[in-house]
Symmetry: D2
Subunit: 202 residues, 4 copies
Amino acid sequence: MRTIDRMVAGFRSFRAIYYEQRPERVASLVEGGQKPEILLVACSDSRVDPAILMNAEPGELFVVRNVAALVPPYAPDGHYHGTSAALEYAVRDLKVQDIIVLAHSSCGGVSALVAATKHETMPDREFIQPWMSMMAGAVGDEEPAKASQDTLRQSIRNLRSFPFVQNAADLGYLNVHGWWFDMKEGALYRLNEDDGQFVRIE
Amino acid sequence: MRTIDRMVAGFRSFRAIYYEQRPERVASLVEGGQKPEILLVACSDSRVDPAILMNAEPGELFVVRNVAALVPPYAPDGHYHGTSAALEYAVRDLKVQDIIVLAHSSCGGVSALVAATKHETMPDREFIQPWMSMMAGAVGDEEPAKASQDTLRQSIRNLRSFPFVQNAADLGYLNVHGWWFDMKEGALYRLNEDDGQFVRIE
Amino acid sequence: MRTIDRMVAGFRSFRAIYYEQRPERVASLVEGGQKPEILLVACSDSRVDPAILMNAEPGELFVVRNVAALVPPYAPDGHYHGTSAALEYAVRDLKVQDIIVLAHSSCGGVSALVAATKHETMPDREFIQPWMSMMAGAVGDEEPAKASQDTLRQSIRNLRSFPFVQNAADLGYLNVHGWWFDMKEGALYRLNEDDGQFVRIE
Amino acid sequence: MRTIDRMVAGFRSFRAIYYEQRPERVASLVEGGQKPEILLVACSDSRVDPAILMNAEPGELFVVRNVAALVPPYAPDGHYHGTSAALEYAVRDLKVQDIIVLAHSSCGGVSALVAATKHETMPDREFIQPWMSMMAGAVGDEEPAKASQDTLRQSIRNLRSFPFVQNAADLGYLNVHGWWFDMKEGALYRLNEDDGQFVRIE
């Protein structure tokens, strides 16, 4: 059975549960609009789906997913910046209270970046290397797990380079969180920005 | 109770289920790496989480989420293109079999775009308007629901402008799907590329 | 991994979800007591768990489970009548609005009964045969699937032999439902008491 | 919306998930028959559904549910003994490896029993009092929570009065567990038969 057929069948279960069996939550979200408290920046990796990892319900998480869960630096140059646009919309329009950047171990994008630093480049890739290169200064010749933590540290710094983020944080309206998921151990860590260390929270 | 605390508690349930109660699936994904069959491009909207909508399991969906579920046109210019990087990685490295672009009704990004076409612009937004402007040619002064279908049609055309997508599709290795979710009705439609019409599938 | 260890791990996920992540429902049930609308009489069979079959939440179903989902006839003789005690408590104390008796295909208890009618008895069983014998008059030498429908018809008749059930039903406070689950097809049928036929409802 | 309508809608989600999206588990159970490792004797209380409490999947738990999760003493007298019949079938035919008797705090049946010991009887109840009276010798004028633990101790003793249970346990084929669920705290305890004390396991 192909996964796409499983997904269509899964949609039937979604509708049965959220529209027919317990329609209150979705009806309220359709009528009243979304009011998520959290913007989550996560990786596209199929193994770290935020709604599964956190048992979320519809309406709880406004989610950006890109390769390696990267936040680029503030650069209002008129180009297409998908992650920055979502960030802006979440903070300025939806007025989320928390931004979580969720990185993880065993990240393919980070491994590609580490390989590139060793000149083990993939010469015919047009997009993944420019994309990961935004983290080139943050990562050295190191273990991928450590590199993924370094990219998370840089993403948090980049996040704070957006004036609307830092201002909201300074005023106490917004909290910034760096979370790192150890996929092998099933453990969740948070970045302590004061000393740059990761502390296990679960 | 704050949503972020709910998410930490939800992570405990995830670990209890996927690492302790039924560890087979995740163990296999950690050992063997991810092998998703599907790349899904979805919207960041908190109400249309793909894993919830399709009752997905870890490992099934490689997911990009950005505002309005947009696919930009092919532009290998060395800039940061998050969605294109994910697309490249999914098709060329993970060798997915299906790409689904999932748009939906009541999309805030599309509403902003429609407002902008009427000169009801939000003057101090630096990112969301450049981002949505990639769809400016696809959308007119129209109902937001219709506009979200027009952006989906354009995303599918953009998707096919990537040589590695179109080549894989031509060779029969890759299928491209445009899906549209009617949030009010709980109905799922697919785009028929031949005539541009949407056909209800669920 | 033994199932009992899976169950302990599963309990951890239950607590994480229902006590930590979304405690409102259980807190209300603990404070306010249970107020189920439905008494469900179901089979002990591990494949037909009512909460799984109907995606129930805590507090929704008051459940009796015995071999073959049988309701015995009214017999207030002072003996231990577990099913009758639950029935009495549900109707008179909890004041449920609906009683569902849920039988199913491929029922081991019914197969034992059919075998016994053919003198293929299991001579050293002390309890299962007396228990199933309450249905001896309802079942002949027939297909087990048909026999399970015959036992359901008899259970519904037995249910109506309880004065407090029939009185509440006559007054319109209580509805009696016979449901039959076709395990192979995944289909749900209801008994039409007027003509004794089963009508597919799902 | 009535709960019975929610249950029919819930059945649609069950079928979509277990028959259409991920049919492997149920197909195997239909083809190969049930092979549960565990017999669980639980209470009918709507708040302590075993499949929800332990996040069970179809096929994992063979379940008896009666008021107060009682196991009667061994009495092969030819009467209808629903719980004993299920016990016999689970041990002798299904050959379960574990029997769990799961009692809980805030049990209405136990409260009725305690009330009866204080002569606060409910004079017109024909079944619940005979049923609970099987525990009369085990319970005194005490707190209901303590009384529910006393009934569990007695159920375990009764369980061991069945020769086929005790013999299988003596031979090491079968394990007997008394579990007690503290509904207010969300905690799970097990009975240590050696000293009669309850030890928290979760």
